[in-house]
Symmetry: C2
Subunit: 234 residues, 2 copies
């Protein structure tokens, strides 16, 4: 199944933008009257019939709507220090979206190697991974956020974990399925002591990430998959 | 900690090659008499003192040896169909090595998108990931292997799993910690029915990989991390 994406939906009509139109009509050679599947990034899946094609847009009539399509019974927010190499962070966003994540906050830490970030590039990766993995919900991706603000995000999530070496407990030891969790992943060189204290004061607990020393983006992905795996098959 | 890698070890002396020597003496500015840590890719970790430096080589005297350094109590072999985009397979090798894997077989399937493979590039990624994640053992990486041969590999591993959509059981349902497992990951478009039958006839069982449709390299990594997570904290 190929999913198209649009946010231009009014009543029972939706419009594909230029790029999606090109993919639909030129690459896949869809014609008037053909049925396609689309998602809006907000959890809705649609089956729709093509009723108008131009070079710049494709108009469809919605014939079936499924709300909360492939939705999960848990909520996962990961805040992660961007890597020096932007590819590695983009890769994290792609893979986390494929596996399952709700919210991503790139954080500006004292030891951050990257002080600027093109969030639009991350959003593009997330969009393509959402379609690829047959999901209807785009993760929320925040702008680069100072550490101090990041630890105050998601105040409604009571389980707040911070990845750190030398901790006794793992994510698995702290997490119960079907619940929400907010996890912080630090930069190469770890969070500073000041940052750790600030996090503890804001309700975070330290957790180890296993026996291997992992790169930042790998630690992020391991955290993401751990939560997904612990929820599966409930 | 920075790990160096060498296979040139005789008695209590070891020699770093040109590239490792450059990294050791020029980038990290290590001098005669300094202590460094090295691994041989076969499970041995060494602490050693630099006793000779030239432009092309660095000779060290081993002062401490730890065998089976950071070794695991399980064995994981993953056979995976190479992706069209070589970066994605290299990425899989890097991340799987970081997280923990013993053997990787790139497989040539009927629907494979890639018929040739530069294994040296994969080995380079594995080497760098081994050092990065503080391991002393390099995964075995096989040449591109026809599917029929691949399913006959690792005959001593009795738990043989094949990733497939629509299966009732997951890896988690089949795996017991501290045991060996051999997992097959198919190409985009899945294994063919003939391949599935051949695998079943060779003792493989189908397992699903969760609710998301994952790219090949993501499925490989999810399988790798699932086994590592199920073994942790035993």
């Amino acid at each position: 199944m190929i999913l198209f994406y649009t946010t231009e939906i009014k009543g029972n009509h939706a419009v594909l933008d230029k790029e999606e139109t090109r993919h639909c009509t030129q690459v896949l050679r869809k014609k008037l009257g053909d049925t396609i599947q689309l998602v809006d990034g907000k959890g809705n899946f649609y089956e729709a019939r093509i009723i108008e094609i131009s070079r710049k847009a494709c108009v469809v009539e919605i014939i079936k709507t499924i709300a909360n399509f492939n939705s999960r019974d848990f909520y996962l927010h990961i805040a992660i220090a961007p890597t020096k190499n932007m590819d590695r962070l983009e890769w994290f966003v792609e893979k986390a979206t494929e596996i399952g994540i709700d919210e991503i906050t790139p954080i500006l830490c004292q030891r951050s190697e990257r002080k600027k970030l093109r969030v639009d590039r991350l959003e593009k990766k997330a969009l393509s991974a959402m379609k690829q993995s047959l999901k209807a919900t785009l993760p929320i991706i925040h702008e680069l956020t100072p550490f101090k603000e990041a630890i105050q995000q998601s105040p409604d999530i009571s389980l707040r974990l911070m990845a750190q070496g030398g901790q006794k407990n793992s994510i698995k030891d702290n997490y119960s399925p079907n619940t929400a969790v907010y996890i912080l992943i630090g930069p190469e060189g770890d969070f500073t002591d000041t940052e750790k204290e600030m996090a503890f004061a804001n309700g975070f607990q330290g957790v180890h990430m296993g026996n291997s020393r992992l790169r930042t983006e790998t630690a992020g992905l391991v955290a993401c998959h751990t939560i997904n795996l612990l929820n599966e098959g409930q």
